[in-house]
C-alpha cells in the first residue's frame, strides 16, 4: 500500500514538474518589452504569425516582419478586461492543446510539444486540425486566432502598401462641430479653431489610387 502511494506521489510530482516546465520554462526573451502579453504568449503569437503568414509568396512580408506580435500585444491591452482574459486563454489553448490534439509525429515525433516549440511543418498540421475540425468550438478557436492575426497583418503599413490599400491623404474640412469638441481627454479650451477657420464642406471630388499616401503609411514608416 505504502509502495503504491509513493509511486502515485512520484507520478504526480513528475506530472506537475512537466506541466510547470511546459507552461513556464524555455521561452525566449522578447526583443522589446511587451505592454501586456507575457513572453510565453508572445512566443505563441510569433509562432502562429509565422505559420499563418510565412515569408515570401504573394505578399513578401512575413507575419513577424509585419510586426503581428506587437500588434496583438497592443490590441490585447486595448480591449476590455473580460475579453483580454478570453484572448489570453485562447493563446494558452493553442499553445498547449497539442497534448490532446497532437501535431504530426505524435508523442515520439514531438507532436505533443507546445505549439511554439513545434517544427514549422508540425505547426501547419496543428493549425490544419483546428481549422477543419468537426467540432464547432475548435473551428471557432482557429477562426478567432486567425482573425486577430489577420487584423494585425493588414495593419502593417508595409503590407498595405504592397497591396495598394494604404490610406490616402484626405484634406479634412473644418465644420461647426470642430468648434465644439476637443480631442478626447482634452479641455474645450484647447480648441484652437474659431468660426473664421471654417472651410467649405467637401465638394465630392472622387478619390482614387493616384492620390498621395497618408504620411504615417508612407514608405519607410513602420509602427
Amino acid at each position: 500500500m505504502m509502495h503504491a502511494m509513493l509511486l502515485l506521489a512520484l507520478a504526480l510530482a513528475v506530472a506537475a514538474s512537466y506541466a510547470l516546465s511546459r507552461i513556464f520554462l524555455g521561452y525566449p526573451r522578447p526583443a522589446s518589452r511587451p505592454v501586456w502579453l507575457s513572453r510565453r504568449e508572445l512566443a505563441v503569437v510569433d509562432a502562429a504569425a509565422e505559420t499563418l503568414f510565412p515569408l515570401g509568396g504573394a505578399i513578401p512580408l512575413s507575419g513577424r516582419e509585419a510586426q503581428i506580435p506587437a500588434f496583438v500585444d497592443s490590441y490585447v491591452a486595448a480591449v476590455p478586461r473580460n475579453l483580454r482574459i478570453l484572448m489570453r486563454m485562447l493563446l494558452f489553448l493553442v499553445e498547449h492543446a497539442t497534448v490532446f490534439f497532437p501535431a504530426s509525429g505524435g508523442l515520439l515525433g514531438g507532436g505533443m510539444r507546445r505549439f511554439s516549440s513545434l517544427s514549422p511543418e508540425q505547426r501547419v498540421a496543428a493549425l490544419t486540425g483546428w481549422e477543419h475540425s468537426s467540432l464547432f468550438a475548435r473551428r471557432l478557436v482557429f477562426t478567432s486566432l486567425r482573425a486577430i492575426l489577420t487584423m494585425g497583418y493588414l495593419s502593417s503599413p508595409g503590407v498595405l502598401r504592397a497591396l495598394g490599400l494604404a490610406p490616402r491623404e484626405i484634406p479634412t474640412p473644418i465644420c461647426e462641430a470642430d468648434l465644439l469638441y476637443p480631442r478626447v481627454g482634452a479641455l474645450p479650451s484647447t480648441i484652437a479653431l474659431r468660426a473664421a477657420d471654417l472651410t467649405p464642406p467637401s465638394d465630392g471630388t472622387p478619390l482614387g489610387p493616384r492620390g498621395p499616401l497618408r504620411a504615417d503609411y508612407a514608405e519607410g514608416v513602420e509602427p
Binding site: 497592443s74 495593419s155 480631442r183 478626447v184
Partner: protein, 509 residues
C-alpha cells in the same frame, strides 16, 4: 446650474453633479439626437447624456481593429451566445451613426402594414410616418449615392443585377459631398457623412440643449407611475473607469441608449416598465451573410462609397442585398486558409468586391439580460432552422450576381463547402446542400424589438409613440421599440419614429 447650450466633456468633470431639465435624453445616437434637437427647438430644456466621448477627426483610427476598440462597445468583439454571432454597438457621441455606412432607406409599405396588423398599431403606416421621414431626410440631405463616387465594386454589383434582371439602385445615404474614401466604418475624414455628432447634436446645442458626454446612466429613478430622474457616473473614454456621480431630474425621460442598453437599463432599475414581461425579450437581428468575389481586373475596392448600391428585389423573400467595404483587416477576417494560400487570397483584395445580404429572420429570437457588475448585456440568440432557407437563398443569389458581373471566382465562407467556387455550376452547393445554422457565418449589427411597441399593454413595452405603457413620462426612442425587423437598414426609420416621439412629447410637456 450650468448655462444652456453647452457641451461638457470628460476633462471638465471634477465633482459629483446634479442637473434639472424638462427632458433628459439618454443616448446620442440616431434616436436620441433627433429627440434632443426637436425638443430643444420646441423650447424645452433638454439634457442629452452620452456615455462615450465626442471624437474629432484627429481621434479617428484608420486601422480597423484599433478603431473598434475606441468606438465600439466591448472593443467591437461583442457576440451573442447560443449561436455565436458578432454584433457591434457604438460608444461615442453620435452613436452608431459615426461608424455606420450612412444607409437610409425607408421601411417598405408592406412591412409597416404588417407591424400595424400584428402589433395593434394604427398610425405606423408609411403614410403616417411620411412627414417624419421627410423631415429627417431633408435635414440630413439624404439622397442616392452619386455615380461618380460609386467605385468599381459598387458598379459591378449593378452590372450583375442588370444582367440577371434584378432591380438595383444607388443607396440613399445621409451624406453631403462624399468623396468615396470608403472610410465610413472608422469615421469620415471628409466630414461628408452627416453623423449625429456633426448634424443633429450641434443643432440641439444651437437650440439650447445641454450635452453631457462620458456619462454613464446606470438607473432610472421612479415613484409610482412616474420616472423622476436618471442617475449614473462619469466614465473615462476608452477605459470606462468610473468616477463622479450625477443625477439628472426631469419631467420626461427618454431612453435612446440602443436596443441592448435600453432593456438593461430598465432591468437594472428594478425591472421598470415591464408589466408586459417583454423588456429584453424578442431580440432580433438582421443576420448578414457575405461573399467575396474576385474579378479579372483591379477593382481598387478601397475607393468608392463604402456601401453604394443595393437591391430591394428580394425584400418580400426576406433579404436585402448590398455592396460592402470595411477596413481591410476587418473585411479579411473571414478569408479562408492559412500560409501561402491565405497570403495569396489577401493579395487578391485589390481585385475583389464583397457583397452582403441582410435578412429578416422572424423565427430567430433571443434575449437581452443584465450581466452582474456591468452594463454590458448578456445576449442569447439562436439562428432558427426555419430562417436558414432565407440565408441560403441569399447566398445563392449573391453568387449568381457575382458570376453575372464577371467574377472569376467567389469565396462563399460557408463551413463544409469549398473555399472557392470558380463558376456558378461549381457554386451549386450554395443552393442544394442542406445547411445547419453553424455552417453559416453571420454578423448582426441591426438589432430590434427588445422593448417593442404594441397597442396592447400586455404584449408590448411602449405604445405607438414610444411612451412606456407603465409610466406616464418614460419614453423610448431607439430600435428597441421596433416591433419586428423593418426589412431594411433601420437608421432612418429609427430617426423617423424618434421624430414622431419628440413631437408627441412636445405636445404633452
Amino acid at each position: 446650474m450650468l448655462p444652456p447650450g453647452e457641451i461638457r466633456v470628460f476633462a471638465q468633470y471634477g465633482e459629483d453633479f446634479r442637473e434639472e431639465a424638462d427632458v433628459a435624453v439618454v443616448g446620442s445616437g440616431p434616436g436620441g439626437a433627433v429627440v434632443a434637437k426637436e425638443l430643444a427647438e420646441a423650447g424645452k430644456r433638454v439634457v442629452l447624456l452620452e456615455e462615450g466621448p465626442p471624437l474629432t477627426p484627429q481621434d479617428y483610427e484608420w486601422e480597423g481593429a484599433r478603431s473598434m476598440t475606441r468606438t465600439l462597445r466591448e472593443g467591437g468583439l461583442r457576440a451573442t451566445r447560443g449561436y455565436v454571432m458578432p454584433t457591434m454597438q457604438a460608444i461615442c457621441l453620435g452613436g452608431g451613426s459615426l461608424v455606420n455606412s450612412a444607409i437610409c432607406p425607408r421601411a417598405p409599405d408592406f412591412t409597416l402594414e404588417r407591424w400595424c396588423t400584428q402589433f395593434a398599431l394604427a398610425h405606423t403606416t408609411l403614410a403616417g410616418l411620411s412627414p417624419h421621414y421627410e423631415s429627417v431626410e431633408k435635414f440630413l440631405g439624404i439622397a442616392p449615392t452619386p455615380e461618380n463616387v460609386q467605385g468599381a465594386r459598387n458598379l459591378l454589383f449593378k452590372r450583375g443585377c442588370d444582367a440577371l434582371g434584378y432591380s438595383s439602385e444607388p443607396i440613399p445615404r445621409n451624406v453631403r459631398g462624399c468623396r468615396g474614401s470608403g472610410e465610413c466604418f472608422t469615421g469620415c475624414r471628409s466630414r461628408a457623412k452627416q453623423s449625429m455628432d456633426i448634424s443633429y447634436v450641434p443643432a440641439a446645442l444651437r437650440a439650447g440643449a445641454r450635452v453631457r458626454t462620458s456619462v454613464q446612466v446606470q438607473a432610472v429613478v421612479s415613484e409610482g407611475r412616474k420616472a423622476r430622474a436618471v442617475v449614473g457616473q462619469v466614465v473615462a473614454p476608452f477605459t470606462g473607469r468610473r468616477s463622479y456621480r450625477f443625477e439628472v431630474r426631469a419631467k420626461v425621460i427618454v431612453l435612446a441608449a440602443g436596443c441592448m442598453a435600453t432593456p438593461v437599463l430598465l432591468q437594472r432599475s428594478a425591472n421598470l416598465a415591464n408589466s408586459s414581461g417583454q423588456v429584453g425579450e424578442n431580440l432580433q437581428f438582421h443576420p448578414g451573410v457575405a461573399i467575396q468575389g474576385i474579378f479579372p481586373e483591379r477593382t481598387d475596392p478601397q475607393f468608392g462609397a463604402t456601401q453604394g448600391y443595393q437591391s430591394l428585389h428580394f425584400l418580400r423573400e426576406g433579404f436585402k442585398l448590398e455592396t460592402l467595404w470595411a477596413p481591410p483587416g476587418v473585411l479579411a477576417v473571414r478569408t479562408p486558409g492559412f500560409g501561402h494560400a491565405l497570403k495569396g487570397r489577401l493579395a487578391e483584395i485589390p481585385y475583389s468586391a464583397t457583397w452582403d445580404a441582410i435578412s429578416s429572420c422572424h423565427s430567430s429570437l433571443g434575449t437581452v439580460r443584465v450581466r452582474r457588475g456591468t452594463l454590458d448585456p448578456a445576449l442569447v440568440w439562436r439562428l432558427d432552422e426555419r430562417d436558414l432557407p432565407i440565408l441560403q437563398r441569399a447566398l445563392w443569389v449573391l453568387a449568381e450576381i457575382f458570376f453575372a458581373a464577371g467574377a472569376r471566382k467567389i469565396l462563399p465562407g460557408v463551413h463544409g463547402m469549398a473555399d472557392e467556387f470558380h463558376s456558378l455550376r461549381e457554386a451549386d452547393p450554395l443552393r442544394s446542400k442542406g445547411l445547419r445554422p453553424k455552417d453559416v457565418v453571420c454578423g448582426g449589427n441591426h438589432v430590434f424589438s427588445t422593448a417593442r411597441m404594441h397597442g396592447d399593454p400586455r404584449r408590448g413595452v411602449v405604445d405607438e409613440y414610444g411612451r412606456c405603457h407603465d409610466l406616464e413620462n418614460l419614453w423610448i426612442a431607439d430600435t428597441s421599440v421596433f416591433p419586428q425587423s423593418p426589412s431594411v437598414n433601420p437608421m432612418l426609420t429609427c430617426m423617423a419614429l424618434a421624430h414622431r416621439t419628440a413631437h408627441a412629447i412636445a405636445e404633452r410637456v
